[in-house]
Symmetry: D3
Subunit: 167 residues, 6 copies
């Protein structure tokens, strides 16, 4: 998908001025919130697995799992809300032309976030992070801001997309 | 109780114009939200029972139960809020005259919703649905709108009260 | 769009069994919440216009508008949440095949709900109700449940889609 | 109403042991939250009146009123929630026998709290405080705890019911 | 710490008029909400321990623990919010001069409340109540209101700080 | 303050291993949420000023201001929550040694965020952003991650602190 985007990027001319009047109303959109939530989801799943080893669970274990699950639910809901807001409020026809398949990408994120709510499979949450990475790259592409990938500076230290604002 | 209501219905004259000035402020009241919440409570209890069979529970099982319990709590709180709003904001003396024992009915719903929060007995949640059915029938009676009962078109497929708006 | 759907309906065979395994996890989905929220948005806009006549506003007027705006915001957010949940959790490839253009329909609802948040134009909120009506018809079509339209039994008495569960 | 209660108090024998098994599930109920919310409602109304003098309102004035109204809404909702919880979860038949007319008293509080949401009349909020005072006295009566009235130690310095726990 | 405070109290002159202009904006601050939340946290931990005895836990047990943990989380968050608001909005330089070490006291409460979220050790929650007791005494000292300690009139019947408003 | 920090940075030895055991429990802390909220607060204030010019305000103007104020309240509350969590959960004695005056810095942020809630002075919100910038620099310093400042890639385009993760 990123390959397609990069090709699109080469073709797009003058999209910077286009964005000026479709950013209304508040003009602050940032996928960092969705990314942070997705990374937190991975952490919650890791911490859930740290509690128990499949043996008999104590009251204290169950209490721990309960609160971790609660936080996991919240992280997934946050992912959904953050992505829905950017997609629903920021993406207009100009952006949809720049990024193919955005509707399906967003729906796919909703499905993946639900999977992460329903289970505790770490691979599901890693997939969620990567889907949000791609979403973030698509978003910054429409803004004309280049991005880079680096491990986030805290656990789970997964590769995360950041805007390159220094250059 | 419904029998009493139907008898009341026959006695009531001109209550349609009475309702006109007690519907203030927003005039939209609808027990469908409370019913949906009560039906969802039944579903959560069903899904909780599907997780485990009384044998030793795994971390994954506990995680599932935790999130189902969280949703169950929410459904019961929603039932309480929806019923409290209709009772507190819509029911005025004119409506209390039409439906006997409304205060006790509402208190009884609060008690039943608490029972559903405290345990996972399906019978408790079925009783909650039926109490909300009766509440919905009482509500629509004060509105002069006839109702019918049909299984809701999704699990748990329990008999649910709907306003008859077609005739 | 409804015309297309009805044509689709004729073509679809056996979708009732198809729905059995895509309703997971909770299987209760109902667009009535979104509809109620959209109708409430119309009401809030009506009540806002009732407060003032364009003349100088008093402290009391401003206080009234403030709380009505707050409720309007809530109704629009509820519309977005309810629709996003049904779209994200219930709609799978089987449903997308039954209803063309669902992604665009949902995005369009988000845009319309934002419009209703940003302003107080009654026409915008009426358009929102109709978009949710179409969404509800699409939803019930995938469920194999027929629908009818009737004025909602309270202000704003706009034409609203209901499932026909009596027949 | 308090007079009736005091008469009741004289008649009640042994209600302390009665309360032992109706306090389930959490046994912590305290009307101080409802009182604090009602007093805060009075304050919000006072602060709203401080903003404007009926003359033309500036953007800054409107911004101030908006946030005060938002807090006022919250205080009224808190009153409703706190009272509903004590009434719905704590009051059982034993308590209803001790305090006559509790259902009507609670409904009346809901109506009064709605009035305070709808307008900015200080008398309405003062009436709300007094209704919660009576509710608090009724509550502590069922607990066998005596109460006293004193001005709350902050604005609006209105007479407030406190349990007498020193003696 | 209380000893220091009492010494401070003797030294402080004229702090009543000082408080008049630092109470802005709303002037209602009351540590009773934080205390109630801390006491509720103790209760939740007690109820969690009542569920299980370390033996194999049933689905129903896990469901009960889940909802008690959810409430425990809420009580701890409420403690943090209530204390943060009083510290952040009410405490100004005048109050900081009256009570030494307030910053550290508040940070310590945050740490303790987190401990109570993370585990189910009753001693942790008892320590939280005592820390809030000291905070309440510090608060009332800055208000020039004397306090007393009495067991709260419901479980867990722990010593709790109340303002003495009768004298 | 940053000067002091940089001096501190030179003196600190081996703080990377120190952070390993004070990051518990979730280890994901990131001031980007607080920064985004503070920047959004500036935007809300800008948008509020765009609505009116001091002339007579229409119903539509008041409606717009109301919702912008509501969002402004939320951004300030988010700032407070995000900062409180990092300070309360992440900062332990090791971090306090690295950054002098952290308690006062956090309290000062609470006060500044309250100012931004109470009024619509742009300078207040700019000051809030800078205070969070300093907080973010202090935070990343304790993590051993270097930072840079760049205008945020959307309005209000104010200088914002970002971690430098590329090098």
């Amino acid at each position: 998908m990123m390959h397609q985007m990069i090709k699109l990027l080469d073709r797009v001319v003058g999209f910077k001025q286009a964005q000026a009047h479709c950013d209304i109303p508040c003009k602050i959109y940032d996928p960092s919130g969705a990314l942070l939530a997705a990374l937190s989801c991975v952490r919650m799943i890791d911490l859930i697995h740290e509690v128990g080893d499949g043996m008999s669970l104590s009251v204290s274990d169950v209490a721990k799992i309960s609160r971790l699950v609660r936080e996991k639910e919240k992280t997934c809901n946050d992912v959904k809300d953050e992505v829905r807001i950017i997609w629903g409020d920021y993406f207009k026809s100009a952006q949809f032309e720049q990024v193919e398949g955005m509707h399906a990408m967003v729906h796919d994120i909703m499905v993946q976030a639900s999977k992460c709510k329903q289970g505790i499979d770490r691979a599901d949450s890693e997939a969620l992070v990567e889907k949000i990475n791609l979403f973030a790259e698509a978003f910054w592409l429409t803004k004309g801001v280049s991005t880079y990938r680096a491990p986030c500076p805290y656990p789970p230290a997964l590769e995360t997309v950041y805007p390159d604002l220094m250059s």
